[in-house]
């Protein structure tokens, strides 16, 4: 119950982590099944229909329900601490964001049990995703599930923007913000501009499928290429929503374990903003073969290549942060150090893809599959592992086992390279993506086998990480404030895990790497910016949960509104939108309750601020 009603950003972080980890597991199992199917030519481990469902759900689940929530977990856990805040700007809304994400994700995955998962690819190109060619409810689960989950992401993004703009501790100017907070800030801005696009796209597709509209239907005057534009104008920025937080994590971990401040801080900030800006300018590079014409292809080729410039700045800054430092190879730092060359691999193939005539050959082949897995797994997932090992003690008060962490790194990393490096060659040799099987004797056999073996190894790596979590959870809570001893930012100045109110007194920030600066001046804790006083806290509430349940019910009702259940009562309930109305009433009722009933929260008085459960 405590977990359902919580509005504390640290607990919501844990909820995001558990839910994200759960979906990540599902997406991983889907990946393993895909690799078993492709292990040998003309394999019939799964049927063509199930295979299309697997690839669709693997992509959708990993991006929307796996890695994004884990990013949000770290953001929730860390950002308020890094800027010296007591919570996010809107704790209630923060909880709402989590619950809508969770119910959206559950709805999407219910499709496996309720008559067929979405099968038109994670991009769901029309007309294949239209009701004419995808007759099951699969794509309805996609449109409505993602709509609900996307709501949560948008809410979360807006919340972080407000938090970072308004709640920084005294002295923390924008140019003193830690890099992870910076990338969270920019990521949230991208979410603010990109998610409305997918929201609109999903609404249009829902209208086409459920209400018989013609937005993407040529016969009715629509245009299927329109879907591609809407999807990618969201989809490309989405790549940066994923990778920028990883950049932020790497920019925290490398300086800590090199014992040096981040090289070229201001150029890092500048590069982050530039990447976000360019990210919106290049969506059509996913559509070179759609036939946009020579001028469009030339412009989008060049603008895409330009992204290499700010990304290059970042890579060299990280390398030169380590230059002259004293590098410690903790598990967290191994992942961060492994990230750099791996991500560079994904980056350079990205530049290759940007060359439109060459992309005519690369597009929709395993070369592309290799490229984006180098970026998303080799970049983001390595980044997340790094961040999780790094901040685990801050979140849970226990340090993860270093030995197991290193084993995780090596198995995962070797498995990863085995899986995806060879896929570059498969693509160049003529293997298109999203194929359920392939004929023998095309020189695809051996490389596919290697790739599958690598995938199993990655699976072993992930299992080791889970084992590590289980073992660590059984240990006592004994992590010191600053377990890495070289922590530079504010979160390391308070106990692990932090008390409910984070900072007993809001700290005074006197420069970049505020905590490190105080340590160098010989202090053991931050100089406070305010006297000890009563701390205002928001009340716990089940309303966000109830609202999300309402939306979930409404979504299910809408999806089945045209179905014949062979039962007058059920038909009456669904076909007259009664279920939709009930669901919306629950949501709006909860909203009304929230608006009409004034809740002023509560206070923690100074005598109760004993930082309970904390040792130093």
């Amino acid at each position: 119950m405590d977990w359902i009603t919580t509005v504390d950003h640290k607990k919501i972080a844990v909820l995001y982590l558990i839910a994200g980890g759960f979906f990540f597991g599902i997406g991983g199992i889907e990946a393993i099944l895909i690799r078993i199917q492709l292990m040998k030519p003309m394999n019939d481990f799964v049927s063509a229909q199930v295979f299309n469902e697997l690839i669709t759900m693997h992509g959708t689940t990993m991006i929307f329900l796996g890695v994004m929530p884990i990013i949000f977990a770290l953001m929730n856990a860390v950002v308020p601490l890094q800027i010296g805040a007591r919570d996010v700007a809107f704790p209630f809304v923060n909880a709402l964001g989590f619950w809508t994400f969770l119910f959206g994700g559950l709805l999407l995955n219910l499709s496996w049990l309720m008559g067929g998962a979405p099968d038109a690819g994670w991009t769901s190109y029309t007309p294949l995703s239209g009701s004419e060619y995808s007759g099951t409810h699969g794509v309805d689960f996609y449109t409505i599930g993602l709509q609900i989950a996307g709501l949560g992401t948008l809410i979360g993004g807006i919340n972080f923007l407000a938090t970072i703009i308004t709640m920084r501790a005294p002295g923390m100017s924008y140019m003193r913000m830690p890099m992870f907070t910076w990338t969270t800030f920019i990521t949230s801005a991208i979410i603010l501009f990109a998610f409305p696009a997918i929201t609109v796209g999903l609404v249009l597709l829902t209208f086409d499928r459920i209400l018989g509209a013609n937005f993407f239907d040529v016969a009715g005057g629509g245009n299927p290429v329109l879907w591609q534009h809407i999807f990618w104008i969201f989809g490309h920025p989405e790549v940066y929503i994923l990778i920028l937080p990883a950049f932020g994590i790497i920019s925290e971990v490398i300086p800590t374990f090199a014992r040096k401040r981040l090289f070229g801080y201001s150029s890092m900030v500048f590069a982050t903003i530039l990447i976000a800006f360019l990210g919106f300018m290049v969506w059509a590079h996913h559509m070179f073969t759609t036939g946009l014409g020579t001028v469009a292809n030339a412009l989008f080729s060049i603008s895409t290549m330009l992204i290499a410039v700010p990304t290059g700045i970042k890579i060299f800054n990280w390398l030169f942060t380590m230059w002259g430092g004293q590098i410690r190879f903790t598990a967290a730092n191994l992942f961060a150090v492994g990230f750099v060359p791996t991500f560079v691999m994904g980056g350079v193939t990205g530049v290759m893809l940007a060359s439109a005539p060459a992309d005519f050959q690369f597009h929709d082949t395993y070369f592309v599959v290799a490229h984006f897995h180098y970026v998303i797994v080799g970049g983001l997932v390595l980044g997340l592992f790094s961040g999780l090992h790094y901040w685990w003690p801050k979140m849970f008060g226990r340090v993860l086992s270093e030995t197991l962490g290193k084993w995780t790194f090596w198995t995962f990393m070797i498995g990863f390279q085995l899986t995806f490096f060879v896929q570059h060659f498969l693509g160049l040799m003529g293997m298109q993506r999203r194929i359920v099987t392939y004929l023998p004797n095309q020189d695809f056999d051996l490389l596919n086998l290697v790739s599958s073996v690598g995938a199993f190894l990655m699976g072993v790596g992930v299992i080791m990480f889970l084992v590590n979590i289980v073992i660590t959870t059984r240990k006592p809570v004994d992590a010191p404030n600053d377990p890495w001893e070289d922590g530079r930012t504010l979160e390391w100045s308070i106990p692990s895990p932090p008390p409910e109110y984070n900072f007993k007194q809001t700290p005074l920030v006197r420069g970049i790497d505020a905590y490190w600066k105080e340590k160098m001046a010989g202090h053991t804790e931050m100089t406070p910016a305010e006297p000890v006083g009563s701390i205002h806290m928001p009340s716990a509430t089940p309303l966000p949960f109830v609202m999300s349940v309402g939306i979930f019910i409404a979504g299910l009702g809408l999806m089945f509104s045209k179905d014949d259940f062979g039962n007058a009562f059920m038909n009456g309930l669904f076909n007259n939108y009664i279920v939709v109305i009930i669901g919306l009433l629950i949501t709006f009722g909860a909203m009304a309750l929230r608006s009409l009933y004034d809740d002023h929260g509560w206070h923690i008085e100074p005598e109760d601020q004993d930082e309970k459960g904390v040792r130093t």
């Binding site: 063509a48 229909q49 299309n52 190109y125 007309p127 060619y133 040529v218 245009n223 299927p224 290429v225 090199a258 014992r259 401040r261 090289f263 073969t289 759609t290 036939g291 014409g293 292809n297 060049i302 290549m305 330009l306 410039v309 290059g312 700045i313 060299f316 800054n317 390398l319 030169f320 002259g324 004293q326 590098i327 190879f329 150090v337 750099v340 060359p341 560079v344 350079v348 193939t349 530049v351 290759m352 060359s355 439109a356 005539p357 060459a358 992309d359 005519f360 050959q361 597009h363 929709d364 160049l428 003529g430 298109q432 099987t437 392939y438 004929l439 023998p440 095309q442 020189d443 160098m520």
Partner: protein, 350 residues
């Protein structure tokens, strides 16, 4: 221009090494790395240039990373804080400028190739015009200049430019012959795509559908067969000759009522399903069951493939729209008879 040449000169030896390495990969009739025509060659040259540039980048980054990781490990007893460097304006400008330069080196030939390969040949009298229509899950090729329609095997004369106009009859597909040219999507009416390629050498090249189009996406393969100009002219004439029907009149009647309602042979039948004229001489049955023949060491006899297909089309290509001949009331003997007739229906043009 001068600078571009300098850089090119430096990466030339690298290029040589990598083209050797890369060209070891894949089949000649399929691999992007063994281009068999000028369009694919132009695209491959761009790829080699970009790969060379990227390898240079990788070597530099990996070298710095390796040096840093070895040289600056924290050693036991090392307790003094390292100097806290803010950054270095000069260095940062350098690593902004170098990527920019590399991007320009790649961007110039990219733009050139885009415009060179984007040429519209749809009014070129010397080019062979081909209208490609993709269906779930087969390819239809129409030659408006010759008033000929065929399916699955695209026959082209060597050396001639082939000007394609692509469209789809249902969902989006993508037309791809890796060793001849990059892919192009087939869109519905209103957004038709055009492109062209040519094949200087005789041979059969494997083509694929590259856009997820449903259950049998993986099985939507086709072949491009480049033949001499005379053979091509002969082929056109053979295609326009009157239809050859089964000798057995009873079987011919069955074939007409059951198959020709959708399929066509010669001057008879309908345009809904793949044109069957000369189907016994094609490279494959249904695009996916390879027929025994030159260069198809793993193929089965065409009769076996035809029987496999006709006895259960769904198991070969799940989700295709062909009704099972059994459901049309044909007996096993009749199906075998039709299979035999079709397997022997070959055009003599080579």
């Amino acid at each position: 221009m001068m600078k571009q040449w300098q850089v090119a000169k430096r990466i030339l030896p690298l290029l040589a090494v990598f083209s050797l390495l890369l060209s070891a990969c894949g089949r000649e009739d399929l691999s992007v790395m063994k281009p068999q025509g000028p369009v694919a060659q132009g695209q491959y040259d761009l790829m080699k240039l970009s790969i060379a540039i990227m390898i240079v980048v990788l070597i530099i980054v990996f070298a710095i990373a390796a040096y840093v990781l070895i040289r600056f490990r924290r050693r036991a007893g090392q307790n003094e804080m390292p100097e806290q460097v803010e950054g270095n304006f000069k260095l940062e400008v350098i690593w902004t400028a170098i990527p920019l330069l590399l991007v320009i080196v790649l961007a110039v030939p990219t733009v050139k190739t885009i415009f060179a390969q984007g040429e519209d040949l749809s009014n070129d009298k010397n080019a062979i015009q081909v209208k490609v229509t993709s269906h779930q899950y087969w390819w239809e090729f129409t030659y408006p200049q010759y008033d000929v329609t065929t399916a699955q095997d695209l026959i082209i004369p060597t050396g001639k430019k082939i000007a394609f106009e692509l469209k789809t009859a249902d969902v989006l597909h993508s037309f791809w012959v890796p060793s001849l040219a990059g892919k192009m999507d087939t869109n519905p009416d209103g957004t038709l795509n055009k492109f062209s390629f040519s094949a200087p050498n005789e041979g059969v090249y494997r083509g694929k559908c590259a856009e997820l189009c449903g259950r049998s996406h993986a099985f939507m393969e086709f072949k491009v067969k480049a033949v001499s100009q005379e053979s091509f002219d002969k082929w056109v004439n053979e295609m326009k000759a009157p239809a050859v029907l089964p000798e057995d009149t009873q079987l011919a009647e069955k074939f007409k009522t059951n198959c020709l309602s959708c399929h066509a042979v010669g001057d008879q039948g309908g345009p809904v399903a793949p044109n069957l004229t000369g189907i016994g001489g094609k490279q494959s049955v249904a695009g996916i069951l390879l027929n025994q023949g030159e260069g198809q060491e793993d193929g089965n006899p065409v009769l076996d493939n035809m029987k496999e297909w006709l006895h259960d089309p769904q198991s070969v290509k799940p989700g295709n729209t062909m009704p099972n001949p059994k459901d049309l009331g044909l007996t096993d003997e009749e199906i075998d008879g039709i299979a035999e007739y079709l397997a022997n229906y070959k055009l003599d043009y080579e």
